[in-house]
């Protein structure tokens, strides 16, 4: 899982986290991330386990909005990229 630079002080400086647990969906991968780096997870997801509105998640180059949302399937070696959207003022 590739983390944006804004969250790397919450991951001990790591820009990428290798998740070896049962991560067959993006949702499962995020829960695995939560166990490793709860502060990073807290910035990505709300209390209701939904993505924050201005956080984008890609599997490879595909935005998960169009591939099943948090239930988007992952396979061995999948790369999940977390990025903030371009919204804001």
């Amino acid at each position: 899982m590739i983390l944006p630079w804004q969250l790397r002080d919450l991951s001990g400086g790591a820009g990428a986290v290798r998740l070896d647990g049962p991560t067959d969906t993006v949702a499962a991968a995020l829960q695995e991330l939560r166990a490793r780096h709860p502060g990073v997870y807290d910035r990505i997801c709300t209390e209701t386990r939904e993505l924050r509105p201005h956080v984008n998640v890609f599997v490879g180059r595909e935005d998960i909005r169009w591939t099943g949302g948090l239930q988007t399937p992952l396979s061995e070696g999948s790369e999940v990229v977390i990025l903030p959207s371009v919204s804001g003022g």
Binding site: D42, T48, R52
Partner: protein
């Protein structure tokens, strides 16, 4: 990125001015004269800071801040060295239960509880709810009677969001507290938070077909004085009101103001009859009337109001002061402070009789809090 803040060096008798903006928090310090100000900031650069507080109960001096990031969510942080370091960067300790279906959008108010309860604190948040802590702010839980309030599904957000922005504990009773939210209006508990009754009789809701509903009013701010806590002053979305009975009834006190629309309201620290407001022209043109920047003060509990503009721009001033953008300190000659959406901060060291610019060029100001260091 801006220079890293280093914190303030503050001593007893100094005045701390905490300014929250849409792009970070700025801390100011002055000696008791309040004639010159050191500045430190921005703290939390790039993040909105709608709530700040200095908690000095129990002999301490703890700064609280609620930075919020439009991408990464809200956070609550504290500092015991006037901003040199801030704790609490990991998980936000303020969380709705997952089963509630709610998620924290913004912290609007940080309120230390009564002097006799130095470990108890309250938060007002969006979506509208009251949180409490019994361990000095380490852990937080939503007040169940408010979280599960039967009106919740009918509360609707104003332009700023569905925010609980006012928290007024009764200094004489641990069971009574008044809160206010926009929209929704005023609610009061008399049983320690188990139940909350709407207390809006007499407060108009101009934007609804029924102008006097039981709840649903767009109350912008409520203040009271600890020496006379049952008397409440209310700045409404159209309307200035006073209640002498903890909100059971309200009556109009818009006597001599250019507009009864506005957001900000602050209580004098020593005089229960003195209140400050900053009227705005209308909800359609949310700028100071007649292009003049004036604070209004009543010294007789709302029977009359006087404009205070000495030292403030009196032409070309299209200014807006938001609900938490006005505050007072408790120095012997009370200081009054406000910040504008155009990034200006003004201070008065003589109870509002004259004003001086503290700083301009800040991001839009959304919160101003002042305190004398004990």
């Amino acid at each position: 990125m801006p220079d890293l803040p280093v914190g303030l060096k503050a001593a007893p008798g100094d005045v701390i001015l905490m300014v929250g903006t849409t792009k970070g928090a700025f801390l100011f310090r002055s000696d008791g004269s309040r004639s010159g100000w050191d500045v430190d900031g921005p703290h939390f650069p790039g993040e909105e800071v709608y709530a700040l507080a200095l908690d000095q109960r129990g002999g301490g001096a703890r700064l609280w801040a609620a930075p919020g990031n439009p991408f990464w969510g809200a956070m609550l942080r504290r500092s015991d060295d006037f901003g040199a370091t801030w704790s609490g960067k990991e998980e936000c300790p303020v969380r709705f239960p997952e089963e509630s279906g709610l998620s924290l959008n913004r912290i609007w108010q940080i309120r230390p509880a009564r002097e006799s309860e130095p470990e108890r604190m309250y938060l007002g948040v969006e979506p509208a709810c009251l949180f409490e802590s019994a361990d000095g702010g380490s852990t937080w839980t939503p007040v169940a009677g408010y979280l599960e309030h039967e009106h919740r599904e009918k509360w609707t957000p104003g332009a700023g969001g569905l925010c609980l922005h006012t928290i007024l504990p009764d200094p004489r009773s641990g069971d009574r507290m008044v809160v206010a939210q926009s929209t929704g209006g005023v609610y009061r508990t008399d049983d320690g938070g188990d139940t909350w009754r709407p207390r809006n009789a007499g407060v108009r809701a101009e934007f609804l077909p029924d102008k006097h509903p039981e709840f649903g009013q767009c109350v912008h701010k409520v203040v009271h004085h600890p020496a006379r806590p049952e008397r409440l002053f209310l700045q409404n979305h159209w309307g200035l009101y006073r209640s002498d009975d903890w909100g059971d009834s309200w009556h109009d006190i818009a006597n001599g103001v250019p507009s009864d629309f506005g957001f900000a309201m602050a209580m004098h620290a020593h005089d229960p009859d003195t209140v400050y407001i900053v009227p705005l022209e209308s909800d359609g043109f949310r700028c100071t009337p007649d292009n003049r920047l004036r604070v209004y003060r009543t010294r007789d509990a709302g029977a009359s109001w006087q404009p205070l503009g000495d030292g403030l721009p009196q032409e070309g001033a299209y200014e807006t002061v938001l609900r938490d953008g006005l505050d007072t300190d408790d120095a012997a000659s009370a200081g009054v402070y406000f910040g504008t959406r155009s990034g200006k901060v003004y201070a008065s060291a003589d109870e509002g009789d004259s004003w001086a610019l503290v700083r301009e060029g800040l991001p839009p100001v959304v919160c101003v809090k002042a305190a004398v260091v004990r």
